[in-house]
Amino acid sequence: MIIKATEYSEAGLADGKDYREAMIPYKKSLAKKGVLLADEELQPSSTGLRITYPKKGGKPQVLAGPFPVNQDLIIEYMVINASAEDEALNLALRMPVPKARGKYEIELRRLKEKLESIQDPGIKAIEASLQDHLNMLKKI
């Protein structure tokens, strides 16, 4: 779950008390369920650096923040363990939001944990024996 930065967070304004107080039991409940695997809050982009490669094959350019808030900056991320999309969505929808602070965005992304090559080992093996048998069919 990626929580996007806002103009407020970029300006270093502390989160409202209501929001902070609501966030504590929310995270606790995730931790209690054993689904919260990681949680990091980030400082505003003013302390960040950005590396860009403006030209193809060219040298990197290092740029100091702050960066424009409309560029999908991130202020916090949590890694949660959900077995299905709707489960993840339900958890994310229960996350408290700072009501007084305008537009607010949370993005859900999947961890790239699937190893394509190791899916369905059983089927792969039977496909391999099919190739062996077809080869025999051809030659015998």
Binding site: I123, A125, N135, I140
Partner: protein, 421 residues
């Protein structure tokens, strides 16, 4: 013994003993992550002491005693007053190096079994199960695992850390499941082992074409499992399947590293010891007197090839019957296609193609490229080249794999020649 020699020996000992250590320690501290740390502590002490004092007669027991003392120290230090721990601590205190061996003989098997059920627990993703099993039961490093799967080392390390945390947070017990649950959970364990084996056996990319380490570890794990869960036919079936497949390991590639299909392999080079072990395991599975499951059936099919002196002497009617049985316990179009080919070999392609035609009527298989591909092969066998060409072209349009596409288009072209001559 030189220092580097000693270290190499310690490495080898670690490979063999680490799983037992971690399993035994998990029982005491009820936390795999902590157990692994304690086992590593013992290894560090061994690395300090053994080069001077010499390697003890029973290094496994030495490591276990050392690690257990540390576990007890830790439990005392952290003042865990839980009665359970106090009891264990009391009992464990009595162990001397000599006792450990005796006491553990019966326990080790049980602990290993508990550990593998833990690392293959369904709360973990399949990838996490494989990574954690390789780490804790096979003693592979994150680097070795990452090399086998062509994934960044940090990814594997993260995955292992997360998996251990999940087990902890969800309070996954260190135990062998009972009754109904045992069957489900056992199949998960077998799946992880077979996945490891296949990854080593059938990987086709670059220098990793062959990854014998994974195969060997899977086989070793399977053999251990077969000893401690000896009443489960599918455990023996899986071991049989892996032994027999592994017997062809060397002949599966030529000197250029290209794959060699079964028909063209040099049967004289198949490993006879592995074959004997495989056939014996298959026999054990059958003697348990329950109908054969998917692994045992696949092992039996593989055994048919092993027992044929030449490809021409293969017992196809038996293979067809085994695929028929497999299609019942593991219904899948790929099994049906295999059955169709086996039937063609046993009774002629005109009968085999009927099965493929039945599959053709299934709309859910419209996009399945192997279906027209097999149909094409059978049509060639029947001399119906025009139809075969259409099938190969259809198959080529359905696959994303470029190499396969080229092969199929070549087959289509060969059919073109067939009609013109």
């Amino acid at each position: 013994m030189s220092l580097s020699n000693t270290h190499r020996t310690i490495d080898a000992i670690w490979r063999i003993e680490s799983a037992k250590l971690i399993a035994g320690l998990t029982r005491i501290v009820q936390d795999v992550g902590l157990a692994e740390d304690l086992a590593h502590d013992a290894l560090v002490i061994a690395l300090e002491k053994w080069p001077h004092a010499g390697i003890p007669d029973n290094p496994g027991a030495w490591l276990m005693t050392t690690a257990k003392r540390r576990a007890i120290d830790l439990l005392r230090r952290t003042k865990i007053r839980d009665q359970k721990y106090v009891e264990i601590a009391k009992n464990t205190d009595l162990y001397t190096v000599e006792d450990v061996d005796q006491v553990l003989d019966g326990e080790i098997g049980d602990d290993l079994l508990r550990l593998i059920f833990m690392t293959c627990h369904p709360v973990l993703s399949q990838e996490a199960r494989v990574a954690l099993t390789l780490r804790l039961l096979c003693g592979l490093t994150a680097e070795e695992i990452s090399r086998s799967f062509l994934v960044a080392e940090s990814t594997i390390a993260q995955r292992i850390v997360r998996a251990k945390r999940t087990l902890n947070e969800k309070n996954i017990p260190f135990e062998v499941p009972l009754g109904e649950e045992l069957n489900d959970r056992l199949s998960t364990v077998l799946e992880v082992i077979y996945l490891m084996f296949n990854e080593g056996y059938s990987a086709t990319s670059g220098e990793h074409w062959i990854r014998p380490l994974l195969c060997q570890e899977a086989l070793r794990l399977g053999r251990v499992l077969a000893q401690i869960a000896s009443n489960e036919p599918e455990v023996h079936g899986l071991v049989a399947l892996m032994e027999i497949q592994f017997s062809r390991f060397k002949t599966r590639v030529n000197s250029k590293g290209e794959p060699v299909l079964l028909m063209d392999q040099n049967r004289a080079q198949w490993d006879q010891l592995l074959i004997r072990r495989g056939l014996a395991a298959l026999e054990r599975s059958r003697k348990l007197g329950r109908s054969l499951g998917p692994y045992s059936l696949q092992a039996a099919i593989s055994a048919c090839h092993t027992q044929a002196p030449t490809p021409e002497e293969t017992d196809w009617p038996r293979i067809a019957a085994l695929y028929e049985a497999l299609s019942i316990v593991m219904p899948s179009p790929i099994v049906e296609l295999n059955r169709a080919v086996a039937i063609s070999m046993a009774f002629g392609p005109d009968i085999g193609i009927q099965i493929v035609n039945e599959l053709n009527a299934d709309p859910s298989l419209k996009k399945y490229h192997l279906l027209p591909s097999v149909r094409g092969d059978l049509l060639v066998k029947l001399g119906r080249y025009d139809e075969a060409r259409t099938e190969f072209k259809l198959a080529a349009s359905l696959t994303q794999n470029e190499r396969e596409q080229t092969l199929l288009l070549n087959r289509a072209m060969e059919c073109g020649e067939g009609t013109s001559t």
